[in-house]
């Protein structure tokens, strides 16, 4: 709805700075940072109550429904390994089938997103993540002395698909955090480095976290961060190195014992010990894995050479991703000006050597690789909330995976290709196959393969209210919009009648609106708030905003010629209906009237948008003459 004229860049209006945070919601650890609490715009990490800079992404649920998050939750792990949820990020937007058997806690294999079985009942990964986010918010408020978080930028792996992004955003909504933006982790890191070192050129961000690997190629030019290509693996991270050490040590030392006899708790202890050894190997040539298992103490010295041999295949996979990213952008390794290292796992000597060898470029690592993403997110949050003084920067990100539609024979027709700069919108026209057909189904998938079965199902959209016409006559224009967060939305209009078709969305791995509403209700019940009242208030606010903007647009002399008398009358009727609905204070009617008004004014909005761009260009031309 482009009724609003966007001629003025947004000015910071608030006299005092608003408290905005950047959150790195990590697989292993999470961080929160802000640039709003300090005077010089420099972001800084907000520590936990005990002074730790990282909050372990671990959640322990008690029977009474209360939960413990962080180091205290991890401490419960030895006694109750199944009750402490870690690495929940790997479960976001994923089904039980996707996950495989690597996970130590119990989950319920249902259709759609997996549910984790806990002492407090079944939990969706979205709820678990929401509990981590709530803890981070409390931590940020306590550390800063602020009363409320005005907005948050939450980072996600660049390679996250739509379901994983949506799940992350849902978690933030559930935690009551206003999301300014989902920001890709490598882009956040680039922002943090860009502030420090503003040399223009091509940069690779190599981000190996606890559970995910991402690589992005960016062009930095005059305060514009432009992502050219991205790649990665959402199921490859430092945790996998730990697991391989544990497995190899188990084989080496426990030859007498079949590995299967190790209990879940044993594996946890062994993996934790493997992690300690892995970290020791970053500075020493050898390290010892020491773990107290049920059958006795396991002690095993490992060398860097052994470690490298065991884990080389993982590192090779990351370099293959880098090669693909360069090929996608049609850039050779020698054209890259520098490589930014992100994620604690990039401290591994073998990883650094492989990256240095492949790119033969300077490695940037002077910002703590565990913190750089949160710091970049905090800087971006500060800009988005309008605090930032002085020159700001622009982030142009891309979508990591192609979006396509299921066609005849289970094949995929791509609509939006990967590495397309977002936001983006593409249209596709459909028609009916039967006389009088009033509904159709569109199955949207994400991925690069040609067969639907090999791609990831995102959602099924059912279009209804198609006017009953002879087969092939109805022309339904479907718009696929990917916003700056990388999230998909779909709109549909029947072209001959100009009526919006109704759309019902059934996400394949996400939460349905109903499920989400139930979770939100549960969260509110807990907080003794009235969800219904809140929804009504939101609808009233949005309606009033729409009325105000339309009134202003209609009164604007410049746009008088944009409307015919009939169009003007339709909009006036729509305005009257919404005003009437507001006096009745009925949620359903307010929403219906609001949607109707948006529909009848959509064309007007489009024309205003054209006029708007025209004006902006006219301004540019004057600039050009001046130069």
């Amino acid at each position: 709805m482009a009724l609003v004229q966007l001629t003025e860049p947004q000015e910071p209006t608030a006299q005092q700075r608003r408290f905005a945070v950047g959150i790195d919601l990590g697989t292993t650890n999470s961080l929160v940072a802000t640039a709003a609490a300090v005077d010089n715009d420099r972001p800084e990490v907000l520590p936990t109550a005990t002074g730790a800079r990282m909050l372990p992404s671990a959640v322990y649920y008690q029977q009474d429904g209360a939960c413990i998050v962080g180091a205290a939750a991890l401490a419960k792990r030895q006694q109750e390994p199944h009750q402490v949820i870690t690495s929940v990020k790997r479960l976001m937007g994923r089904s039980a089938e996707d996950i495989g058997s690597d996970y130590h806690y119990h989950y319920r294999a249902e259709e759609g997103m997996v549910k984790i079985i806990t002492a407090a009942g079944d939990k969706s990964p979205v709820q678990v993540s929401a509990d981590i986010l709530s803890t981070l918010r409390a931590q940020a408020l306590a550390a800063s002395g602020e009363a409320e978080v005005a907005g948050a930028v939450i980072t996600v792996p660049a390679y996250f698909d739509d379901a994983q992004r949506q799940a992350t955003k849902d978690a933030a909504r559930l935690a009551g955090l206003p999301v300014l933006r989902l920001l890709n982790e490598p882009t956040a890191a680039a922002v943090a480095y860009g502030l420090d070192n503003a040399a223009d050129g091509l940069y690779i961000v190599y981000d190996l976290g606890g559970g995910t690997f991402d690589v992005s190629l960016l062009r930095l030019s005059a305060s514009v961060f432009e992502v050219l290509a991205t790649g990665g693996d959402t199921a490859l991270g430092g945790d996998d190195y730990d697991r391989l050490i544990a497995q190899n040590v188990a084989q080496k030392v426990l030859k007498s014992l079949p590995a299967a006899t190790l209990s879940d708790a044993d594996w946890l202890r062994l993996t934790a010990a493997a992690r300690v050894a892995k970290e020791a190997l970053t500075t020493a040539a050898t390290a010892t894995v020491v773990a107290e298992l049920e059958a006795g103490v396991c002690e095993c010295e490992i060398s860097r050479e052994e470690f490298n041999a065991w884990t080389q295949a993982l590192t090779v996979r990351t370099i293959a991703c880098c090669r693909q990213v360069l090929a996608d952008a049609e850039v050779s390794a020698t054209e890259v000006n520098g490589v930014v290292l992100v994620g604690g796992a990039t401290r591994m000597v073998s990883v650094r050597a492989a990256v240095a060898d492949y790119f033969a470029q300077q490695l940037y690592d002077h910002i703590n690789p565990d913190e750089v993403v949160a710091l970049g997110a905090a800087a971006q949050a500060d800009v988005l909330i309008g605090n930032h003084r002085g020159e700001s920067w622009l982030l142009l990100d891309i979508t990591p995976l192609s979006l396509g539609l299921e066609t005849m024979g289970g094949l995929v027709e791509k609509v939006i290709y990967r590495n397309t700069t977002i936001p983006t919108e593409k249209h596709q026209e459909f028609t009916t196959h039967r006389d009088g057909q009033t509904a159709m189904r569109i199955h949207v998938v994400q991925g690069e393969r040609e067969r639907v079965a090999d791609c990831r199902s995102l959602a099924t959209f059912t279009l209804s209210d198609i006017p009953p016409l002879a087969a092939g006559l109805a022309r339904i224009r479907v718009g696929f919009q990917v916003d700056a967060d990388g999230l998909l939305s779909v709109t549909a209009t029947e072209k001959t009648t100009g009526v919006s078709a109704g759309i019902q969305v059934k996400p394949s791995y996400g939460l349905s609106e109903e499920e989400f509403a139930n979770m939100l209700q549960a969260a509110y019940t807990h907080a003794h708030d009235d969800l219904q009242a809140r929804r009504l208030q939101e609808a009233v606010n949005e309606s009033e905003e729409l009325l105000q903007i339309l009134d202003k647009a209609l009164a604007d002399a410049d746009s008088a010629h944009l409307l015919s008398a009939a169009e003007r009358a339709r909009i006036a009727a729509g305005l009257a209906r919404l005003r009437e609905a507001l006096t009745q204070a009925q949620l359903a009617e307010i929403n219906a009237a609001k949607e109707h008004l948006q529909q009848v004014s959509a064309e007007f909005a489009g024309r205003r948008m054209n006029a708007d761009i025209q004006r902006a260009i006219a301004g540019k031309k004057i600039d050009d003459i001046g130069q």
Partner: protein
């Protein structure tokens, strides 16, 4: 009537021409996005954010279209109602198709980098010739407006360009073509 939102050349304040400097285009693109990107409206009303989303999407699409010469050319002729991406039209001159076939076979049989590099430069120079001819024809075509006689010539040249560009795809030279 063409408005800035319908005409990508107008959107960037450029003439309808193939002669576009990438650096200049990119600079104008960045300037427009600095003004309209949704990040500039994070604290604005939901309607303003929606408007910014639409503007920015349009600007991104415009930049992606004009950035590469082939998509720029295809877009340019589409403004005059010529669609060169019709997949149903496979009618090409026989000699052109024979040449294509020969190159494809040679690429499949090439088993060393030297042979592939030689083929690449041969195809690339054929492509450059077509691009040169297409660019010249396009200039005449645009000057004549939609009334001109050049539309068939432009169409044929762009179709050849599309074929040759496909043949130039990096995977065809990687040395592991599926037979």
């Amino acid at each position: 009537m063409n408005t800035a939102a319908d005409d990508y050349f107008l959107l960037f304040g450029l003439e309808r021409t193939m002669a576009i400097e990438l650096a200049e285009l990119t600079q104008r693109y960045h300037r427009l996005q600095s003004e309209f990107h949704p990040d500039r409206f994070a604290g604005a009303t939901s309607l303003q954010r929606q408007a910014a989303l639409q503007h920015a999407s349009r600007i991104n699409d415009a930049y992606a279209t004009l950035k590469k010469p082939l998509s720029r050319a295809a877009y340019l002729v589409s403004l005059y109602g010529v669609d060169v991406h019709t997949e149903t039209d496979t009618a090409m001159p026989v000699d052109f198709l024979m040449q294509q076939l020969e190159w494809r076979e040679a690429l499949e049989e090439a088993d060393d980098d030297t042979t592939r590099a030689a083929l690449r430069s041969e195809i690339s120079s054929a492509r450059d010739t077509v691009v040169g001819a297409a660019t010249a024809a396009l200039a005449k075509f645009v000057a004549a407006g939609s009334e001109g006689q050049e539309s068939q010539e432009v169409y044929d040249l762009l179709r050849r360009w599309i074929y040759l560009e496909k043949l130039m795809a990096p995977e065809n030279f990687s040395g592991n073509l599926a037979k």
